[in-house]
């Protein structure tokens, strides 16, 4: 049946939402495997609808108003290549996560069989809605829907105290970000009387940037920057990712955080740039600094972690910093490069979290030092983990490397120093992952002494998420990560995904440079563990785990952004 393209965006959002409700009801009667398969079917259907929509969008955009209303009254959905691409990425990741968690959790009680898949489908509905909407208030609604599902999923293991603490911090900080965004929407609505992003952009033409528009810009972006974990709004992310169940980490790091970057881009590109309220040059200067700061802090903190999930969480902060930098370059090449980088990073990061889940299931620990050499038996997992580390480091021919190369190429035009940041951050994060992989799966380097430094999370004895680790690892738990890494490899070889110039010689050279740096730092850390294990005190102590601190940092971040913008605009 050939539905016109305009019908697809609302359906792409309604299908997972309807699926969540239906899966929960079906879960009461279906056996465990049945309801998981049913949920997987719904996720597959959503991915199919989004695949068609992404293909139909092509280089243009599918614009539709829900319910057949005229644009000024109804809610407009805007599915361009970037938005539909991110929604498709979310849908594909949800299919992978539902397959990964096939028999991940122990047997839930009778009436809760369908609860976890239903929450995941709800989470997907929120993400797809946020990626496709072109209406400010609608974006806030899906922002909150995404958040609600994520808080419940993060705190899913109620027996373990730490996920509850992580979910609480996650909930409070993201809610405050959401309410700040709603205040911004109120100000914009008061000034322009419009809610559609494009219509607001048109209505603002000819306006001078005054106190209201600067304040509205900061408030609107607060929610997006909290979701995108930009410094100083990023504190919630390591706490939430270090303790969430592994399938949830795969989604949080894979695509939810990137939606914050996408939201930042949409608000600047559609609302504030057309009327030059916030001219591209001002946006570039401020957000280049913000992105680079986030990337460097994330990389440094990532290097020092020995708690594998927290290590990957800080790597996500670092890479989101790079994505923000890519968006801040305000050029088509940088944007499409960043889009491919996001896709490649999502596949690799989800695979790495999945493999850490295998270790947690088998050995009940995610402490790099305690796991020294204990992963030797899992050969495929070890190989996939190493490939993941290399892909994060930007090694060609992985898609992540290709995206990085394209973004570097675009950065080289105006800001050559940004290339150094890309290489350094990729090297540090890739190096940390390689170091952890070599130590755990290949027992490289001397056996570290097991006395953990005082104020640091080691994750040495984490309750395994599966109560009976005695049975073998379910095949999906290693199959899905391997498939994801393979997908990242294939996407790198034939870059149909994004209109990106293929592998340029400079791109390949930079990729090899960052990979060799990563490998060198990993081997150095393994040979001289004492030298590299000194924890850089100040930033580590700032991540105190206390929600009061994080809210103070969030308010300070808003204040600094307001002052800097007021000066520059």
């Amino acid at each position: 049946m050939s539905l016109p393209a305009e019908q697809l965006p609302p359906l792409a959002v309604a299908v997972p939402l309807l699926g969540a409700a239906v899966v929960l009801v079906a879960g009461r009667w279906l056996p465990r495997a049945g309801s998981d398969a049913f949920a997987l079917g719904w996720a597959g259907l959503t991915a199919g609808v989004l695949g068609v929509l992404w293909h139909r969008a092509g280089d243009g955009a599918v614009r539709t108003v829900v319910g057949g209303w005229e644009p000024g009254v109804g809610i407009t959905l805007h599915a361009d290549r970037l938005g539909a691409g991110l929604a498709l990425l979310a849908a594909v990741l949800v299919v992978a996560v539902l397959a990964y968690s096939w028999r991940y959790f122990d047997e839930p009680p009778r009436e809760h069989t369908g609860a976890f898949p239903a929450l995941v489908l709800l989470f997907e509905g929120g993400m797809v809605g946020f990626a496709l909407t072109g209406d400010l208030f609608n974006a806030f609604v899906f922002f909150e829907l995404m958040g609600v599902a994520a808080y419940a999923l993060t705190g899913y293991r109620i027996e373990d105290p730490r996920p509850l603490h992580g979910a609480l911090t996650f909930g409070v900080i993201n809610s405050i970000g959401g309410y700040a965004t709603l205040l911004g929407i109120g100000l914009i609505y008061g000034r322009t009387g419009e809610l559609g992003m494009a219509r607001v952009g048109v209505r603002l033409a000819g306006e001078q940037a005054d106190a209201l528009l600067v304040c509205a810009f900061v408030l609107l972006l607060t929610g997006m920057l909290v979701k995108a974990a930009a410094v100083p709004f990023h504190f919630w992310l390591p706490d939430a990712h270090a303790v969430a169940p592994t399938p949830v980490c795969m989604l949080l790091s894979g695509v939810m955080v990137e939606l914050g970057v996408y939201g930042t881009y949409r608000i600047q590109h559609t609302v504030f740039e057309p009327a030059a309220i916030v001219p591209a040059s001002v946006f570039r200067d401020i957000f280049l600094v913000l992105g680079v700061l986030t990337a460097l802090l994330g990389a440094v903190m990532c290097w020092q972690q020995r708690h594998l999930k927290r290590l990957l969480a800080y790597s996500t902060v670092a890479h989101t910093g790079l994505f923000l930098t890519g968006v801040a370059l305000v050029s088509r090449d940088a944007l499409s490069g960043t889009a491919l980088y996001i896709a490649g990073h999502a596949a690799v990061k989800a695979a790495l979290f999945g493999l850490v889940g295998v270790l947690l299931d088998r050995h009940g620990s995610v402490d790099e030092h305690r796991l020294h050499g204990r992963g030797r038996g899992l050969r495929t997992a070890g190989a996939a983990f190493a490939c993941g580390g290399l892909a994060l480091a930007g090694m060609p021919p992985f898609a992540a490397g290709l995206g990085k190369a394209a973004a570097e190429h675009a950065a080289g035009v105006h800001h050559p120093w940004v290339i150094a940041v890309y290489v350094a951050v990729s090297a540090l994060t890739g190096g940390a992952v390689l170091r952890a992989g070599l130590r755990v799966f290949y027992g490289a380097g001397p056996r570290p002494e097991l006395r953990p430094p005082p104020d640091e999370m080691t994750g040495s004895h984490e309750p395994p998420e599966i109560k009976e680790p005695v049975r073998g690892i379910p095949p999906t738990m290693t199959g899905v990560p391997v498939a994801l890494v393979a997908a990242c490899l294939v996407a790198g070889l034939l870059p149909y995904a994004a209109p990106v110039p293929g592998w340029t010689p400079a791109g390949v050279l930079l990729g090899l440079l960052s990979t060799t740096l990563a490998a060198a730092s990993a081997t150095a850390a393994l040979r001289w563990p004492a030298a590299s294990s000194h924890v850089i005190r100040p930033p580590a102590r700032l991540h105190s785990g206390r929600v009061g601190d994080y809210v103070a940092w969030l308010t300070a971040g808003m204040a600094v952004l307001t002052v800097v913008l007021a000066v520059r605009v």
């Binding site: 969540a20 239906v22 829900v66 609860a115 609600v148 027996e159 002052v563």
Partner: protein
């Protein structure tokens, strides 16, 4: 950061934000101004759709996609509470003690309960004509049911509150809302969430096309959902204890 440093950092930042927000407020049109372009368009569209309550028209018809997200968010909250407040393996359920209640209170409860449920039914039926609607009626009905707990005791409440059926009802209500959207394809220029049914005449009970149907779906979802939500919080407060605690 110590608590004192944290408070000072916050107060300084809040001062800056306060000044910025106050300056922004001066840029807003004066309070009570005449310029409401979107509001006027929405009110006119509501009248065109023969829906007397313009807010219901905006909520369920013009911006029905927001309400779809909102309904599923409430569904997510109830599902989240079911998941988060479930009885952990190391906990057990204790039967609450019987509570002696004055007969006059019990009589008052039994009289008031139907009145509350009738009010809720009225609010749903007239959601598109007068203020009220599925959500408000659902919350009123849900909190009304808990009169049984106030006027009697927790066992009476558990008897008149079939948790299993309510679980299904609240999920079915949310599913019904999403499914009703597909009825939009029935109209000529069919799209999702289109108000496809005939609109009737203004201020009539049978006006507004599908809006009453959306209202009913929301009432079922919210009414059952809030009862299930409160049930899990009540169970945690009254019944569920960790296994090693002595009861009583």
């Amino acid at each position: 950061m110590s608590r004192r440093v944290r408070t000072w950092v916050f107060l300084a930042a809040a001062a800056v934000l306060g000044v910025a927000f106050a300056a922004a407020c001066t840029g807003l049109p004066d309070f009570g101004g005449e310029r409401h372009p979107y509001g006027d368009r929405a009110a006119a569209a509501a009248l065109r759709q023969q829906i007397a309550n313009a807010v219901a028209s905006v909520t369920f018809d013009q911006r029905g996609f927001d309400t779809l997200g909102e309904e599923l968010m409430l569904f997510g909250a109830v599902l989240g509470t079911i998941v988060l407040l479930r009885r952990a393996p190391d906990e057990r359920r204790v039967r609450p003690p019987r509570v002696r209640v004055l007969p006059s209170t019990r009589a008052y409860g039994t009289v008031l309960l139907p009145v509350v449920l009738l009010t809720a039914a009225y609010l749903v039926a007239h959601g598109h004509l007068t203020p009220g609607g599925g959500f408000q009626a659902g919350v009123i009905a849900a909190s009304g049911v808990h009169l049984a707990y106030l006027a009697a005791d927790y066992r009476v409440l558990e008897r008149i509150r079939p948790t299993a059926a309510l679980d299904v009802t609240h999920a079915a209500g949310a599913a019904a809302y999403a499914a009703l959207g597909f009825a939009g394809f029935a109209a000529a220029a069919g799209t999702y969430l289109r108000n496809a049914a005939p609109h009737g005449t203004l201020r009539e009970l049978a006006s507004g096309g599908l809006v009453p149907a959306f209202n009913t779906a929301v009432f079922a979802a919210v009414g059952a959902g809030v009862v299930v939500l409160l049930a899990h919080f009540l169970d945690q407060a009254l019944e569920i204890e960790s296994a090693e605690e002595r009861s009583g």
